[in-house]
Symmetry: C2
Subunit: 200 residues, 2 copies
DNA sequence: CGAGTCGTTGAACGGAATCAATCGTCGTGG
DNA sequence: CCACGACGATTGATTCCGTTCAACGACTCG
């Protein structure tokens, strides 16, 4: 098992649903009966505040599952709304739990990917403590290649990457340019090569 | 099972070790044989860079386990160093895995707490996208009480809290003062009461 | 072909970081 | 037992850099 959603593979009960931009998938307090997978588009998990604005708890992009915590909760703790036109798959929570219980060896695989995800989230979080945009991006790149190579492809858009890094997209462009000028990286479209002397 | 480290309860093989500030626990590349639990103190998981400075991947505080990902990896991917005088428990990875495999029902509990941890990390990460210090702290407080109450106790020091929120500690003090002046919160030492109208 | 979005660069602003200083507390060791 | 050092909590002044607003070309998609 490589990803959380591989658990869903054997589940043929999946429904699918298309959402327009701004459309609600579920609301805080609704009974938690489904686990979701984003086929394409983007789902925002938000919590509304009294002042009218809302706080984003998570942004699920295409290819990722979300609301997994609903497995162990009676109701959804947040509201899910499509950010752009989005297609999602719906898996019944009860089926997922049954499948989980039937296969202890698969469950161990699940623990493995979750441990890695936690590790990854923790380091992404620590990245945010780097104030300098240049340095934050550079360390992000180093984390991505992880000493295995000195090249990587940016799969998402630069705008999404900026969001993930907690930077304005303008800042990201400028910082990439600055890193290139310093000679720490080379860029060719979405392909980024890191100067070998920084790759351990 | 409430926490990851409850898995360790039945393991009597745990050694314990005391580290002075600055002392290394393990280094990047060392064979991964132990999983750890911080009894008291603070352990930083870092990656050293060519420029001499190091990037923090995670900070494990007392009462938490760390290096869980080592369960599924041959070698440690980062270096662990005590930030202040620290006591840790060492659990042999092989024992932990054995215990994991022996009890499929406990493993499901593990999946549950990991799912919650992931959910929590994701929302902490999204909190960082709130630029305004006042608003970031306020949303953090709301997240902590989660509608269950309108009061909470800050367990850690304010300095550590500032770090968790990605703010300079001076900024945290000022923002707390500002929130209090606005009447959104009331403070009495480490006890914080949130204005009822903001608690959903 | 026009609307929308991405990628990119310029200019100005604002708010958080940083530097600095003070006070209180806690532990420690001589 | 007290002096000293270390650190947390707090407030003030200044700096700096990332955000924000703005504008433009390129590209895609309906």
């Amino acid at each position: 098992m490589k990803r959380f959603d591989d658990l869903f593979e054997n589940l043929h009960e999946a429904k699918n649903r298309h959402l327009k931009a701004g459309e609600n998938l579920f609301q805080r307090g609704d009974p938690a009966v489904w686990i979701f997978f984003v086929v394409r588009g983007r789902i925002k998990l938000v919590r509304d505040t009294v002042e009218g604005n809302s706080v984003i708890l998570h942004v699920a992009v295409s290819g990722s599952s979300f609301a997994e915590a609903a497995l162990f909760s009676d109701r959804y703790h947040c509201t899910a709304v499509a950010d752009i036109p989005t297609e999602v798959l719906l898996y019944p929570k009860s089926e997922v739990l049954k499948s989980l219980r039937g296969k202890p060896d698969e469950t161990e695989g699940l623990v493995e990917i979750m441990a890695k995800q936690i590790q990854n989230l923790r380091s992404t979080l620590e990245l945010r403590n780097i104030r300098s945009a240049d340095e934050r991006i550079f360390q992000y790149l180093l984390l991505q290649v992880d000493g295995k190579s000195n090249e990587l492809n940016i799969e998402t858009t630069y705008k999404d990457l900026a969001y993930e890094l907690g930077l304005a997209h303008e800042t990201l462009y400028r910082a990439l340019g600055s890193l290139e000028k310093k000679g720490k990286i080379e860029r060719d479209g979405r392909r980024i090569k890191i100067d070998l002397k920084y790759v351990i």
